[in-house]
């Protein structure tokens, strides 16, 4: 019984992990919390919807299309909004990112309307394995999320660009002096972050339903996962996402489900009070 809640939590954590990693890395790199990640989730979900319902693509190709579209949208947003503001205080940029979220949400509302939609895929009955109910979509989501996380980790630790990215995140002036092309690194990170968020948006739409406020419902949990994991750490964000997912789901055993969102806020508060650097952060 409680194993079921644990599994539910792991799947929720898997969905949370992708935007949480994007959010966390972009925060460290650009030094502000980019709330537009919530809108990127929605953009991804609607891009896949257009490909799936409009063009008749199977969901797997639609998902790849959504990665590309969202990456591009994120890059454009960065180019138009955040790049001219690079020198400003993080606070101004964070506010600007909230503004971007509103703009993107309303563009989606204008084009697709306020109604909720669903992908053209059949809903399947879950299989039962060792007393656990496991849905096919949930397994797919979890598998793809884990694979993406591994790719991101390998990229960050094993490739020149990934290492350059971490160097820029750690100390931008030093990285620039050492010849790291900062703007190119930021552009690439934005593309990658957008793709991760867009992919997660499709998962979320597949698991629930698609509407213009899709991402807005998730951003507190994403924020909590990133803070819990420690800003700038991909494995930390993954761990944070899993913990937030599990606590939210298992929490329904103890507290009424009406307070699910409160769990996210509670985690943020506790981490900021007890260990502000998060799980992966070094003690100062």
């Amino acid at each position: 019984m409680s194993a079921q809640y644990l599994f539910n939590g792991i799947v929720t954590g898997g969905i949370l992990a992708l935007p949480a990693v994007a959010f966390s890395l972009l925060w460290k790199l650009l030094r502000f919390p980019n709330f537009a990640v919530s809108a990127y989730l929605t953009v991804g979900a609607f891009a896949a919807l257009t490909a799936n319902r409009g063009l008749g693509w199977p969901l797997a190709s639609a998902w790849l299309g959504a990665l590309a579209v969202t990456a591009l949208v994120a890059w454009l947003v960065d180019r138009v909004t955040f790049r001219p503001m690079r020198a400003r205080r993080p606070f101004s940029l964070a506010i600007a990112s909230i503004g971007v979220t509103f703009v993107l949400e309303n563009v989606i509302r204008f084009v697709w309307g306020n109604d909720f939609r669903a992908y053209d895929v059949p809903v399947t009955r879950a299989m039962t394995w060792a007393g656990l109910r496991i849905g096919r979509e949930q397994l797919d989501i979890l598998g793809v999320a884990v694979a993406l996380m591994l790719l991101a980790q390998i990229f960050l630790t094993r490739t020149r660009l990934g290492i350059a990215m971490r160097a820029t995140a750690d100390n931008p002036p030093l990285a620039t002096v050492k010849g790291v092309p900062t703007e190119r690194v930021i552009g690439l990170a934005t593309l990658g972050g957008g793709a991760l968020a867009g992919g997660a948006g499709v998962f979320l739409g597949l698991d629930t339903s698609i509407d213009p406020l899709l991402g807005a419902g998730l951003i507190i949990s994403v924020f909590a996962a990133a803070i819990l994991g420690g800003i700038g750490s991909a494995p930390g964000a993954l761990a944070g996402a899993l913990i937030v997912g599990i606590v939210e789901e298992v929490g329904t055993l103890v507290i009424p489900p009406t307070y699910k969102s409160a769990i996210g806020f509670f985690i943020i508060l506790v981490v900021l009070l007890v260990r502000p650097t998060g799980l992966a952060g070094a003690r100062t």
Binding site: N8, V123, T208
Partner: protein, 404 residues
């Protein structure tokens, strides 16, 4: 010529204008139009219902005007869209009251919208009818300016529960509800009736909107082995929940409100998931003479439970104005509402019929397209027929009519 001053010219012109204008003013007193505002949800969550509601109001107003208006005074309608949004609705209501000088407004749909417009209407002494169900719509002191043709939450919950009691195979019922102002009161009334009827309430769970998953909510409820799940939802969250119940292998019955379990619901959840789901909603009086007139006048509106109520709103306002002898104000309408709607009196089923008897000084009792339209002192209707529906092969089919 030269000794005529500018002042004299102006004075002469003014006198002339007054002399010319005066007869027009006198004439207007008998034929001055009466302004009514429509405030239907043309867009937003109620957007599938609002346009037909407005059409029904227009159809009745045209009939009244064709029959000579209210003691010769024509009705003029001003249309606003409430956008199913409280803030937009309040702005629209202020415009109707302050700019268009309406004496009455109808028919908002969402409870949150109606609750927001209510104080504006009461303050402006404008008579206000809605199709909203939340108990709070008619609660408190509103001086009689507020009434509605939709049954309140208490009445609705009783009807749902009584329907469940007729299903002999159901022994254990779970109540799952989206967090709304009526989720808890509805659940208490619903569960209370079922417990009195000898059933077990296996679980009561109120869930939050827009969560990434409802898996654990469903896990918890299914662990209590219900035969029937009462799902008090709106369409978007309802489809997510229905999908989750299906994935989890639930094979029992699901019952929801028909305003949520609609064609959009079937489209969103998929025909296979939606198959067999039950739905209940207040239904129009399909056999009533007023309903037949309504159905003929507003084509395609037969699938819309709210347009028939709007038809009755405009008819009731028209009749109350006649009872007020052509004097037009929100106060006149609210003072005469029960005179024309409640027994005793000759039963009438249209404005023309009622207006004729009223002019002869007789008492009338309007029986409408949506129901008998009898109001209590607080502005709630006393009874209403309900319809029970089921999703069968992707279509929503009416199964029975329930008369509480």
């Amino acid at each position: 010529m030269s000794d005529v001053t500018r002042r004299q010219v102006l004075a002469t012109a003014a006198t002339g204008a007054l002399a010319l204008g005066r007869p027009a003013v006198l004439r207007a007193q008998s034929k001055e139009p009466i302004h009514i505002g429509t405030l239907c949800p043309l867009t937003g969550a109620g957007g599938s219902y609002g346009p037909d509601m407005q059409k029904a109001i227009v159809a009745v107003a045209e009939r009244i005007n064709k029959a000579g208006g209210i003691y010769g005074r024509p009705l003029v309608l001003f249309h606003e869209d409430d956008q199913t949004n409280p803030e937009a609705a309040v702005r629209a209501a202020r415009k109707l009251i302050d700019v268009n000088k309406v004496v009455s407004m109808c028919s908002t749909w969402a409870s949150a919208v109606t609750l927001a417009v209510k104080p504006v209407a009461v303050e402006g002494k404008v008579f206000y009818l809605s199709v909203s169900g939340a108990d709070a719509v008619t609660e408190g002191n509103h001086g009689g300016y507020v009434a509605r043709t939709q049954p309140n939450t208490r009445l609705q919950a009783q009807v749902y529960a009584k329907w469940v009691l007729t299903r002999k195979e159901v022994k254990r019922v779970a109540y799952m509800a989206l967090q709304t102002p009526y989720a808890a009161p509805f659940g208490e009334m619903f569960s209370g009736v079922l417990k009195t009827g000898g059933l077990t309430i296996s679980d009561t769970l109120i869930y939050e909107d827009k969560k990434p998953s409802y898996r654990s909510e469903v896990t918890r409820v299914l662990a209590t082995n219900p035969d029937l799940i009462m799902l008090s939802c709106y369409t978007p969250d309802g489809t997510v929940m229905a999908k989750e119940l299906y994935r989890a292998g639930y094979k029992g019955a699901v019952l929801g409100p028909a305003f949520a379990v609609n064609a959009k619901f079937v489209e969103g959840a998929g025909a296979e998931v939606a198959e067999g789901i039950w739905a209940i909603d207040p239904a129009p009086s399909f056999d009533a003479p007023a309903y037949k007139q309504f159905a003929a006048a507003v084509p395609q509106a037969d699938k819309n439970p709210y347009a028939a109520q709007s038809w009755d709103h405009m008819t009731l306002i028209g009749l109350a104005l006649v009872a007020g002898k052509g004097e037009a104000s929100g106060t006149v309408i609210k003072d005469n509402l029960r005179t024309v709607s409640n027994p005793p009196g000759t039963v009438v089923t249209s404005w023309e019929e009622g207006a004729k008897l009223l002019r002869e000084g007789k008492k009338i009792n309007y029986e409408g397209a949506s129901g008998s339209c009898d109001f209590d002192a607080q502005g709630d209707i006393l009874s209403r027929p309900f319809g029970a529906y089921q999703v069968r092969k992707g279509k929503i089919e009416q199964v029975s009519i329930i008369n509480p």
